[in-house]
Amino acid sequence: MIRIALRMLVGDRLKYIGLVAGLAFATLLITQQGSIFAGFTRRSGSWIRDTSQADLWIMDPQVEFTEDRKAMLDSALLKVRGVEGVQWAVPLYKSYVQARLQDGTRVVVRMIGLDDATLTGGPPLMEQGSLDLLKQDRAILVDARDVGDGLKLKLGTDTEGPRELRVGDRVDLNEHETVVVGTFRRTREFFWDPVVYTTYSRALRMAPPERRSLSYVLAKVKPGLDPKVVAARIEEATRLRAQTGEEYEARSMDFILAKTGILPNFGMTIVLGFVIGVLVSGQMLYNFILENQRAFAAMKAMGASNMLLLRMVFAQVLFAAFIGFGLGVGVTAAVGQLLHDSKLAFHMGWKVPVFGGIAIVVCCLLAAFISIQRVLRLEPAVVFKS
């Protein structure tokens, strides 16, 4: 009878398509909003994920998130290197500086200074040039996306109009002349300021002089050791905070969510999407089952038990939910893939489709349970009424 139940479901093509489309739409609402929220929050840790060479991030204990500038004394680097279990440790500088382009365009940029010797912590992917070019005099690397946007020569010069920043162009960072030697690709971040890379010593020269200038120490743990164990040793020895990339990313994300109010604002949108999705799918399923009430009553008269009818209804519901959910997730994923390199924040990890699927199934079963009550209470004698 399960096959009969499914034939009843798909037999009326228009109604079936309508039902599946409704469920797909509900799924789209739930998973799309969830994916955008996940994408937004994930962007808060993009720079940390892009800086993947180190096992541990060591920073001032009061640092809350990635753009929080609370520098350490230079001696912190030596202290970290002296901790048992640390294979290597390098400095990393990060600060906001003012950039002035050739045509006078001014923009605030995030400047990252990499260890002079190893250039550890560099961008994930070079597009033009290579990381080694940073060792050249006055060299900086810029984001390939920023050259036409944040770092664009917007004002133009006497000889040419506004144009993209190019390799070879000069950029003044805090009144220090630098030269663009290459471009890189990074993962889109939550914050929008352009990012430039240079060497650590060059960054210190260009930055305002301060007693504390060391933003982070990046450390690698010796093979076979648990990074969290070594992190605890570093914290004990230096009184600094030592975290894995995942831990720092999570803490940074939590801070941004709390401070910006994204969670309640987006959460409201997600909840609304969920409620609408549930109502749409529930209503459609309820109507479908009611429309087949007479058929169920006839089957009851012919000897079908309530348990058999329940199995039939649940088979119909779960089948429709499965197809609708699959379509909805597919469309969401396709849109996300299409726009993956755009400003749309989108990330569909495993949690979004799993929780979305659970939501759809629960909603469908609830709708089925409510509508099946009428079927279960049906008097078979109704089939004798014309």
Binding site: I4, M8, K300, S305, S386
Partner: protein, 226 residues
Amino acid sequence: MCRGVTKVFGEGDFAVQALRGIDLDVMLGELTLLVGPSGCGKTTLISVIAGILNRTAGECRVLGEDTSALPDRARAAWRGRNVGFVFQSLNLVPTLTAAENVAIPLLILGTDHRTALAKATTMLERVGIGSRARALPAQLSGGQQQRIAIARALVHEPRLLVCDEPTSALDHETGHKVMELLREVAAGPERALIVVTHDSRIFSFADRIAHMDDGHVERIETPSKS
């Protein structure tokens, strides 16, 4: 066998007595018509006989079983094994083919899908529309749909066949053919047929006619066969 069967719907001031002490015997091998005006209790009586409704009082044994004494699940199972229904509005599932509609009683009894469809197709051939086994009900005429309903009622070889107004929506000629079909295919020494009707054109097909009015069986006649 019904003795003093009473059925009351509702309670107190809103109680409606649909059956008032029905005495009726329906024999295996006979086609019995239940006739009477609308509202006289014909459908209620066949619902009680078929085990769909419980009686309020009296005694009713069908094929040796007092169905009102059975729990709901057992009663449903008994119906599934022993009763075939031809509903007035046919109640064919519009999205199932003729064969699938006919197979439903077998599938309810647990027959596997392939066997059920094969038996359904055979039954459709017996009722004369084997070539339309894969057609949807909407693609068939009223008479053909009625044949599907009859095939569905017989596919599981029930011992009691209950037909509710099988000819009411059909013209005289088609109705006549349906009754001939019932006589030919459904009637047999081990099966009882009960047909509810107020169509006097088919009286001649009956072995016995029970005339009902106001919840009573007024008289039972044996029509002459010409």
